[in-house]
Subunit: 121 residues, 2 copies
DNA sequence: TAGTCATATGATATCTAAATACATATGATA
DNA sequence: TATCATATGTATTTAGATATCATATGACTA
């Protein structure tokens, strides 16, 4: 079920317009982070536990856990507990297709963004 | 054509890994702005010129133009010049389906984000 | 059951980047 | 040439993110 409008998504839940926009800000803000993008990118291949992610990214445990907390909060990833390990997987339903779409967009506009052009009148 | 990986998008263009992630940061950073989200939301309905957008959002001309410049740069919108007016339309190919996907994601997770839950163990 | 491994959470300080505001430029039309 | 519609440049303020450190928890292990 696709919503016609950003606001429809949460309005029914009783949130005000400004609050809904805040949720979108938190959601997109989650992606304005190289380390979180790297995690997402890793998880596109397979599920991984925290130690594996740390190893791949050569990053600190607290940093990785903080990033994962934010990703979880926004529904980018899901956790699966396996003994003392926690395996993270990408949200297949929405985030996987989302990232595919964005990659396809970026394959066209990445260059434009990086070159910093303002106009092409 | 869908890319398997964030990096594939721009690697062929000769950009380094860090640069590619920067482009993604700029892209998503564009969406961490209530005013820009409002503009996108407006343009989902129909194309509009700058004055019309100003009127709808009750915002200053310079503010709106700055926002539009950023949206243009990242490929969210396209311009169509009509005399002294400039009509903006949403990028139909990628951004429209993208926003639909995100809305559908948010209809599920918006509440979770707004409540600020960290965990649901 | 104490220890340790895997992971999460909290708090704060620093740094970056974004919103704001103001000045000015440009291109089209009347 | 004056005015309308819009774009661009830049400095200031301010919010938000990253980094770091300290600590907590839950599970397994000797």
């Amino acid at each position: 079920m696709i919503n016609k409008n950003i606001l429809h998504a949460c309005h029914e839940e009783g949130f005000k317009e400004g609050e809904v926009y805040n949720a979108y800000k938190v959601f997109f803000g989650t992606l304005v982070s190289e380390s979180r993008l790297r995690i997402i990118n890793l998880l596109r291949k397979r599920k991984m536990n925290v130690s594996e992610i740390m190893e791949e990214l050569k990053d600190e445990q607290t940093a990785v856990s903080h990033d994962l907390a934010r990703l979880r909060k926004c529904g980018f990833v899901e956790v699966e507990i396996d003994g003392k390990f926690r395996y993270y997987r990408l949200n297949e339903k929405t985030i996987k297709p989302l990232m595919d779409l964005i990659d396809s967009h970026m394959s066209k506009y990445c260059v434009h963004i990086l070159r910093g052009n303002k106009h092409e009148r």
